[in-house]
Symmetry: C2
DNA sequence: GCAGGTTAGTTGCACAAGCAACTAATCGTT
DNA sequence: AACGATTAGTTGCTTGTGCAACTAACCTGC
């Protein structure tokens, strides 16, 4: 367990987070990826699906289906872009905004649970370093 | 993208790592979880499956199946424990040890790719903080 | 030493995720 | 203006994963 540690710990944290989201938002009928999509849209609405795909780094087919599920459940709707008719622009519905606070709050709680023993500076450092590691991974993948 | 960031970046890093492993070890016929199992066993052999499950934090059914695949491919074998006949003790085969260097090296490379711009201290810090975050998550899950 | 609870591992089932192949629209070059 | 190349999104297919229910072994207390 010495060598592949960044990837390993990322995987572990990811799986715990996945579990937490499943448990926490089960009563909304929301799965892990759907919650990630909602969070992305709370941050920035009125975007094509491709934007969401890039943000959460998943296969575009997976995102298409997560969005379709959210649409069926009434959390969002889509409109064909006028400037580029290939794009479908995604908007949140009232229902999605109604649960925004609960979702954001739950995610904040989860972050605080994981970093309970952290100082403020450590929290900040962790985020910045993880972001940079993700950036390093992305650069590699995109270069070849 | 402000709130759920630790979980988010963990997920992103995890997916890039998953992709990397798939691409890199495809020619061995090894999938992501199988590689994780091997890495665990390179570190500590002669353990029951339950140990592996705990180490990589996955469902025990998933681990059972990953181990079965590795067994079929000839990378490991199992022996019923004498002290506790419920347990199946896992051992690596020659074939697994033959590829140990390549796998460990590849994972080291991957870590170095992600942390290319990091100082040694930053690398160390990232690992320690991620480990502690995972520990915080684990504590929460186990408490209820 | 037996009953009740716990633990290791397996199997059935349902489902989400990735890859590849496709359509349709747009961009770029000549 | 028209060709080929790229891009956004969808669908088919396969596979890995988690949950739940199960079996078998073990452990505890009476």
């Amino acid at each position: 367990m010495t060598v592949y540690s960044v990837g390993k710990w990322a995987a572990v944290i990811q799986r715990y987070t996945h579990q937490y989201i499943d448990k926490r938002f089960n009563h909304f009928g929301l799965g892990n990826t759907e919650v990630l999509v909602l969070l992305t849209l709370y941050d920035q609405e009125n975007v094509p699906q491709e934007y969401i795909t890039r943000q959460i780094v998943m296969d575009k087919a997976t995102i298409t289906r997560a969005i379709k599920r959210l649409e069926e459940k009434g959390y969002l709707y889509r409109k064909e872009s006028v400037s580029d008719r290939r794009e479908k622009i995604v908007f949140l519905s009232e229902a999605a905004w109604k649960i925004e606070k609960e979702i954001s709050e739950a995610m904040r709680e989860w972050r605080d649970i994981m970093t309970k023993e952290f100082t403020e500076e450590e929290k900040h450092t962790l985020l910045r370093l993880m972001e940079r590691a993700a950036e390093g991974a992305r650069a590699e993948v995109e270069s070849g």
